[in-house]
C-alpha cells in the first residue's frame, strides 16, 4: 500500500478561530512550571469542575513510598475522594491521569504510558487503564505527577494545561466536535503556537458514544510529523470515557515544553542510555525473526491464536476458523503503512502503533471521509473480527475507526457484539426485540449499525452499550432466555467484558482473567502458553505461583508509566537458555537499571514486586470497600472454563472425551452427550475452585479472597482506613 499518500485525509478543522472565540473562561490558575527531579515532580494538579477550582498540592513522600506513581496514585486519590456508596456518576467520582516516575524517558522503548483510574460504570469498582500517547509525559514535564479531576461541569468544558506559561484554564467549549479524531486535531492545532510546536501538544478526548454507554474509552493523542495529523491511543477498558463525558469534559489539552533527553532529570542518564541502546539493537536484530511488532503491531497474533485454538470465534465458542487467513498478519502487514515511524512515545523502537492510511468510510456520520485508522491491534482484530465471525478487513477497520472516534472500547464492544450475535443466533433476541435489526454472526454492516445506534443512545445499541452483565440481567428478566445459559455465555466478570483470548483449555488463564482486580483483562497475567503449550505449570501450586508473580510484575509497569510489550514481545537471543525464560531475566534487569537510573534508588526484583504488591492488595481491599473483592466476585462464566453447548463439546470432543477418561475416570462411551458435558463441567468447576484456594493462599489472602492483616502488615499497607475495611471480613 506504499502508493497511498499518508498525508491525505478529509479535513476536519473548520473555523478554529470561531470555535475558540466561543470559549468562555470559567477559571484560571497560574503556577510555576517545573521539570521532574529524578522522575517525580512531587505535585498534583487538582481540578473541581463543579466549583470551578483549580489548584496544586504537593504529593507527600509517604504517598510516593506507598503507591510509587501511576496506577498507585490514581487509586490513592480515588480512595480519598469517594465513599463506599459512591456511584460512578456521582460528582465526587475522581478521574485521575498519572504518568509514573519512569514515564517520559526517551531512551527506553515503551516509556510513554500514563494510567487512568476512576470508579468504573461497568464494574462499580476502580478501573485502571494503561495508555500511550504524549499526554502523560507532557503533563509531567509541565509540572505534575497526577491530574486529579472531580465534580461535574454544567456545560461542555475543556481543561488546558500550559506547561510553558504555567497556566491552567477551564473553559466552556460549546462548538467543537467531541469525536476524538476531530477533537484531537482541532485542539492540537488550536493550542500549538506554530507548526513546529504541534508535537508539544497532546489532547485527551472521548466521543459522542461515551455519553450514551458504559464502555466509553479515552483517546490520548500525539502529533505524527510524517502523516501530518494527530494519532490516538486508547485508555480502553472499564468506561473511563463514560466518566469523562459524564463530567462534561470535552477535552483535556496539555501544551508542554520541548522534550529533551533528560527532561526527567534522571539520577544517571548514562545508565538509562546504555540499556536503551541495548534494547534498540535487540529490536533491530530480532524483531523480524520474533514478533514482527514493527510491521504488524500486536495484530501478528491473529494466526498464532488460531493455530493454538485460542482465537475467540463466535462469542468465545470456538478457538479457530477457516477464514482466519483473511484477517491474519499478512493482511495487516499489507494494509499498514510501513514507511514511517509508529511509536506512541519517543524512543519506542518497538513501534507497534500501526496505522492504516487512506481509508474511506462507508457508513455513519463520516461516510465518504478519507481517514487514518489507528490499528487494529490484535484485541480489536479478534474482538470485532473473529469473535463476531467477521473476516472482512474493511469492516474491522471501519468499526475500529468508529469505536475510537466515538469513544468506545473495542475490546468490550467486540465481546458485547459477539454476545448480541449469539443471542440472535439462539433466538434470545429476534428482529422484533432488536427493533428490526438483524444481527447475525459475520454481518459487518450490522456490527456498524449497532455501533452507530449505540453512539446515539438509540435502539438495541443503547442496550448493548450498557455492557454484557446488564444485558444478561435484562434479557433474563424479560424472560427472553434461560438465565443459566445467559450466565454461561455472557463473557464478563465483575461487570467487565473479557478481552480476546479463549481461556477454556488453560486453567491458569481462567484464573488470569477472573482473579484480576479490575476484571478480565489480560494485562495482569497471560499464562496460556506457559500453561497449555509449554506445560510449565503442572500443579495448582505452580499455577498459583504464576498468578502471584506475573500480576505483580506486570502491575509495576502501571505504577511506573511503562508499556508491557518491550518486556517479552522481544527477547534476547539467549533467553531460552535462561533458567526462567518466561520471566525474560535480562529485561527484568533492564527495568531495575532503568528505575535506578531515573530515580537514583537501587532496587532488586523483590523490591519491585513489593512495590506492586502494596498497590495490588490496596486495590483488592478497595474492591471490598465498594462491595466486591470476595471469592464470589472472582467466579467466571462457564464458557471461559469449558464447553457450554453441545456444539462446543463436539468441536473438541477428542480433548473432552480424553479428559473424562483420564482425569475424571469415566468411560465417555457410556455417557450421553449431555451427560458428558455435565461431568466435564463438574470437574472443571471444582478444579477452578481448587485454583482459587491455591492462589488466595499464595497471595496471603483468606479462603474468601480477603488480604489478611498479616499480609497487609508485611507490606506496610496496614493503614487504619484499609484495616477498617478488611477487619469485619476477617472475624471468625
Amino acid at each position: 500500500m506504499s502508493e497511498i499518500d499518508i498525508t491525505h485525509r478529509t479535513e476536519v478543522c473548520h473555523d478554529l478561530p470561531g470555535q475558540k472565540a466561543a470559549h468562555k473562561m470559567l477559571a484560571e490558575f497560574r503556577y510555576t512550571p517545573s521539570l521532574p527531579e529524578r522522575g517525580y515532580t512531587g505535585r498534583a494538579l487538582r481540578v473541581d469542575l463543579a466549583k470551578k477550582e483549580i489548584r496544586e498540592e504537593p504529593i507527600p513522600d509517604r504517598i510516593r513510598e506507598l503507591f510509587t506513581g501511576g496506577r498507585g496514585y490514581g487509586l490513592h486519590y480515588l480512595w480519598n475522594g469517594i465513599q463506599p456508596n459512591t456511584q460512578w456518576n456521582d460528582p465526587e467520582n475522581v478521574l485521575t491521569i498519572a504518568p509514573g516516575p519512569l514515564c517520559g524517558n526517551t531512551q527506553y522503548p515503551g516509556s510513554g504510558k500514563s494510567l487512568v483510574v476512576t470508579l468504573s460504570p461497568l464494574t462499580d469498582i476502580p478501573i485502571d487503564s494503561n495508555v500511550g500517547g504524549y499526554f502523560g509525559p507532557l503533563l509531567k514535564f509541565s509540572g505534575f505527577d497526577a491530574l486529579v479531576i472531580t465534580g461535574k461541569a454544567e456545560h461542555d468544558v475543556i481543561l488546558v494545561i500550559d506547561g510553558v506559561e504555567g497556566r491552567v484554564t477551564l473553559e466552556e467549549a460549546p462548538k467543537e466536535n467531541p469525536d476524538s479524531h476531530v477533537a484531537a486535531e482541532v485542539f492540537t492545532r488550536m493550542y500549538a503556537r506554530d507548526e513546529k510546536d504541534l508535537p508539544n501538544v497532546s489532547v485527551v478526548a472521548a466521543g459522542r458514544a461515551s455519553e450514551h454507554c458504559r464502555v466509553g474509552c479515552l483517546n490520548f493523542s500525539w502529533y505524527d510529523i510524517r502523516r501530518k495529523c494527530t494519532r490516538i491511543k486508547q485508555a480502553g477498558r472499564g468506561g473511563t470515557g463514560t466518566v469523562f463525558r459524564d463530567k462534561k469534559l470535552k477535552a483535556l489539552v496539555v501544551h508542554g515544553p520541548r522534550v529533551t533527553a533528560d527532561a526527567n532529570r534522571p539520577a544517571d542518564l548514562e545508565r538509562i542510555a546504555k540499556v536503551g541502546e541495548k534494547m534498540h539493537f535487540e529490536i533491530h536484530d530480532y524483531d523480524d525473526q520474533q514478533c514482527h511488532m514493527r510491521r504488524q503491531g500486536t495484530a501478528h497474533l491473529v494466526e498464532i491464536m488460531d493455530a493454538y485454538d485460542l482465537l475467540p470465534v463466535h462469542n468465545f465458542q470456538y478457538g479457530n476458523h477457516p477464514d482466519t487467513p483473511k484477517i491474519n498478519s499478512k493482511v495487516w502487514d499489507q494494509r499498514f503503512t510501513q514507511t514511517t515511524v509508529d511509536g506512541c512515545w519517543y524512543g519506542c523502537s518497538m513501534a507497534c502503533s500501526k496505522g492504516a492510511d487512506g481509508f474511506t468510510l462507508k457508513t455513519g456520520p463520516y461516510r465518504g471521509h478519507v481517514v487514518t485508522v489507528d490499528g487494529p491491534e490484535y484485541e480489536t482484530a479478534a474482538g470485532l473480527g473473529s469473535n463476531c465471525g467477521i473476516f472482512d478487513p474493511h469492516w474491522i477497520l471501519e468499526c475500529n475507526f468508529y469505536c475510537d472516534t466515538y469513544g468506545v472500547d473495542t475490546i468490550s464492544y467486540g465481546t458485547i457484539c459477539a454476545f448480541v450475535m449469539e443471542c440472535f443466533q439462539r433466538g434470545i433476541l429476534n428482529a422484533e426485540r432488536t427493533g428490526g435489526l438483524t444481527v447475525n454472526f459475520g454481518d459487518g454492516a450490522a456490527q456498524l449499525e449497532l455501533l452507530h445506534q449505540l453512539a446515539q443512545g438509540k435502539g438495541l445499541g443503547a442496550i448493548a452499550g450498557q455492557g454484557v452483565a446488564r444485558m444478561k440481567k435484562l434479557f433474563a428478566e424479560k424472560g427472553w432466555g434461560d438465565p443459566q445459559l445467559l450466565g454461561d455465555m455472557g463473557m464478563e466478570v465483575k461487570g467487565l467484558e473479557y478481552s480476546q483470548y479463549n481461556s477454556k483449555e488453560s486453567l491458569a488463564q481462567q484464573g488470569g482473567y477472573a482473579l484480576t482486580n479490575k476484571g478480565p483483562q489480560h494485562d495482569e497475567a497471560w499464562l496460556i502458553f506457559m500453561d497449555m503449550v509449554n506445560k510449565q505449570l503442572p500443579t495448582f501450586e505452580d499455577k498459583a505461583e504464576a498468578l502471584h508473580y506475573f500480576p505483580l510484575f506486570r502491575t509495576w509497569f502501571g505504577l511506573c508509566g511503562l508499556c508491557k510489550l518491550p518486556w517479552n514481545d522481544i527477547e534476547p537471543a539467549d533467553n531460552a537458555k535462561q533458567p526462567e525464560p518466561q520471566k525474560v531475566p535480562e529485561h527484568v534487569q533492564n527495568y531495575l537499571n532503568l528505575f535506578a537510573g531515573v530515580t537514583g534508588r537501587e532496587i532488586t526484583i523483590q523490591d519491585l514486586l513489593r512495590m506492586s504488591e502494596r498497590v495490588y492488595n490496596f486495590q483488592r481491599v478497595f474492591n471490598l470497600r465498594m462491595g466486591k473483592g470476595r471469592r464470589e466476585h472472582d467466579q467466571p462464566p462457564y464458557r471461559s472454563i469449558g464447553p457450554v453447548t453441545r456444539e462446543e463439546y463436539q468441536s473438541r470432543a477428542e480433548r473432552y472425551d480424553k479428559e473424562l477418561k483420564e482425569k475424571i475416570g469415566v468411560d465417555p462411551a457410556s455417557l450421553s452427550l449431555d451427560e458428558k458435558i455435565r461431568r466435564v463441567r463438574e470437574y472443571r468447576l471444582d478444579r477452578y475452585q481448587k485454583l482459587c484456594d491455591a492462589v488466595y493462599k499464595r497471595r496471603g489472602w483468606t479462603p474468601d479472597g480477603i488480604p489478611t492483616l498479616e499480609t497487609l502488615q508485611k507490606l506496610g499497607m496496614d493503614l487504619p482506613e484499609v484495616v477498617e475495611v478488611v477487619r469485619p471480613h476477617l472475624k471468625g
Binding site: T106, Q107, T260, A261, H280, F281, V341, G347, S349
Partner: protein, 134 residues
C-alpha cells in the same frame, strides 16, 4: 551527495582521521568523539563510518535527522530528543554517542579526515541520492 569512502588497503594505522574528526566534529581531543572508526583486523584495517544511506532518517521520531540539499544526512540538535533509536537501527553501526552525553553524532562528509590522512586512504566520492530516504 558526497560519501566518505575508505580505502582500507592504503591505511597504515596512523589514526589521523580519528583525531581530525573528533576535533572537527566535536571540538575534542578524545578519540571517542570521532565519527570514523578504523579497526585493525587480521586482514588489515576495516572502517566503520556513515555512507549517508539515510536509514536513520526513517527511524527518527522527531525529524531531527534530515538530508540536506547536498545529500548529506545531518542531525538537527534542537530537534533531537536523544531517543538513540538511530544508533540501534543504523545498518552500519555508524551512529555514535559518547558516554555521558545525551545525543548521537555522525559523519557529516566534511572531508577533514580526507585531508588529514597521510596515505590517501579516504576519499569523498559523489553518489546519487535521489532514491534514498530524505
Amino acid at each position: 551527495m558526497k560519501v566518505l569512502t575508505p580505502h582500507p588497503e592504503k591505511c597504515q594505522g596512523a589514526f589521523a582521521c580519528v583525531k581530525s574528526c573528533a576535533k572537527a566534529l566535536n571540538k575534542k581531543d578524545d578519540l571517542a568523539h570521532s565519527a570514523i572508526r578504523p579497526k585493525k583486523t587480521a586482514q588489515g584495517f576495516s572502517f566503520t563510518v556513515c555512507n549517508q544511506c539515510g536509514e536513520c532518517i526513517r527511524v527518527c521520531p522527531t525529524g531531527a535527522l534530515r538530508r540536506n540539499k547536498a545529500g548529506t544526512v545531518l542531525i538537527q540538535r534542537d530537534l533531537c530528543v536523544g531517543c538513540l533509536m538511530c544508533i540501534g537501527f543504523c545498518p552500519h553501526k555508524a551512529m555514535f554517542r559518547v558516554p555521558g552525553t545525551a545525543t548521537p553524532f555522525k559523519c557529516t562528509s566534511c572531508g577533514n579526515c580526507v585531508k588529514a590522512c597521510p596515505h590517501g586512504a579516504l576519499t569523498l566520492e559523489s553518489q546519487d541520492h535521489a532514491n534514498l530516504p530524505a
